[in-house]
Symmetry: C2
Subunit: 333 residues, 2 copies
Amino acid sequence: MNINGRTIFFDNPPVITGSAGVCGKKEGEGPLAEDFDAIFEDTTMGQQSYELAESAMLHDAIIRAISNAQISPTDVNFILSGDLLDQCMGSAFAIKDLEIPSIGLFGACSTMALSLSLGAMLVDGGADCVVAGTSSHFCSSERQFRFPLEYGGQRPPTAQWTVTGAGSAVIKSSGDGIKIKSVSIGTICDLGITDANNMGAAMAPAAEKTIYEFLRDTKTRPADYDLILTGDLGFTGSQLLYELMENEHGIDIRNKHNDCGLMIYNLKEQDVNSGGSGCGCSGSVLCSHIIKRMKKGNLKKVLFAATGALMSPTSSKQGNPIPGIAHAVLLEV
Amino acid sequence: MNINGRTIFFDNPPVITGSAGVCGKKEGEGPLAEDFDAIFEDTTMGQQSYELAESAMLHDAIIRAISNAQISPTDVNFILSGDLLDQCMGSAFAIKDLEIPSIGLFGACSTMALSLSLGAMLVDGGADCVVAGTSSHFCSSERQFRFPLEYGGQRPPTAQWTVTGAGSAVIKSSGDGIKIKSVSIGTICDLGITDANNMGAAMAPAAEKTIYEFLRDTKTRPADYDLILTGDLGFTGSQLLYELMENEHGIDIRNKHNDCGLMIYNLKEQDVNSGGSGCGCSGSVLCSHIIKRMKKGNLKKVLFAATGALMSPTSSKQGNPIPGIAHAVLLEV
């Protein structure tokens, strides 16, 4: 890899040779239903807890991605995975029986971009094949981060709905598929946002920073991309991103931007307020819908910048701000 | 990197050019006191919470390591860090103001070995300079994983004492220092241990697997090392590791093995039962005591294999087993 500014360039771009995105019932009723590789009507996945259901869903996505890439688990050098659950339990229980060397990540909702970035760097550095993945589950997240599921509190308009879903991608040093041309590891941004019901606001500055630096380092403009895709800024965060990009850098990304949290639900009909969130939001949308559109030739050059809100219930209750981070991955057919 | 079996070899070994290990009051009263780079008598670090105190301690270790390596934060391509707190808050708040691209890791108590392994792979792959680090704090861990600090429950003999400490190391592609010759990313082992007060038993099978595979892949024996150092198996876990290595593979590591959790305290006098634990245990011991001994020439070849118990309070309360993992790093003068 060559590093210029904040951006990492690959002379021989690693290739996503297989991927899969799976989701729960509510996501399966949204606009992307056709592209998901599986829709689980029973979001308990036959497990005894929602936490184990999340693991089962991620396990399913990983196996589908491996199958889609026409490899076997023994071909995989490393699996890179993380999630929102305390101590990343979703990933640990998803991959514990796969016998694949495991690199645990924590990037909150930026994990799909983090795992793809790091995976691409490892493949560029000499690994043959890695698997990247992540997951989230509405029920396991909601009761961990907010309230018991039975509690019927009102959600403010800025609140987002944690996606029940998982995504996984196989990255190899060569082969047919989507190329990872360059990546960018973000720095943490903290503008003092403390409202845990407005994660879009906490993450938008990180998205602005990473996208701006990527455009700067690659000497490109929004017009050079078919799509600039954020992870889960939702409606509020996306509007803030537009303002920040315009006011701070004079760059208008409105025509090229979309957000996985806006795409996965019908915002008005599905009662999700500002949109979808969670690691599984960008994980499931990127690894199914986006990659399928790229394979069909509908999208050729996608800058994927997933954001994460680095908060815990403890840090929020202690009155701390919510630091944000965004990692970016340039995908090309 | 070249991968043989589970082991990753570097033709041009990355170098640890600086490091620092810091700790709290109790650790500063133990046998390694002289080698710690700082001992904080006030384990609140002047912060408003123990969680922020942990972050302040990790921040301190990172700054000391960067200073020890005679570089500045702007020289660092990536910082790799993780900890035990929910959503890795210890790391997020430690590094949020450093403006360094941040790769969040979760490896529980194996994090020091995971961050060194991954850091070495990134440097081998083309990064100039990375920082690896981790932390734990008795007070933030105890109340998160077990009981409120005020609760005076009796601890079984197998229980370990979470170390208040942090460690950090700077890895560069060349320079004076300790060479990272090869690394191994572990697979998750689950032998069905469910006792959260016996993490040594949960982690010993992972240590056995990683150490055995490393010896196999490198065609070496325990006699080829000055020290085989585990992270925090404690007394119980170390005894189990000896038995597993002997019974499963006919390999006796007793004469060459030590464990950071056994080294950091006077087990009998300091009332820590089976020994120290936590990410900061191997983090602080490796980055201070061990690296200083290596620099003095007292140790020349050290196989560092830190273990992690991939448990959360939720997973344990739901009756799930505790999966273990171990990553290994071969350090040579």
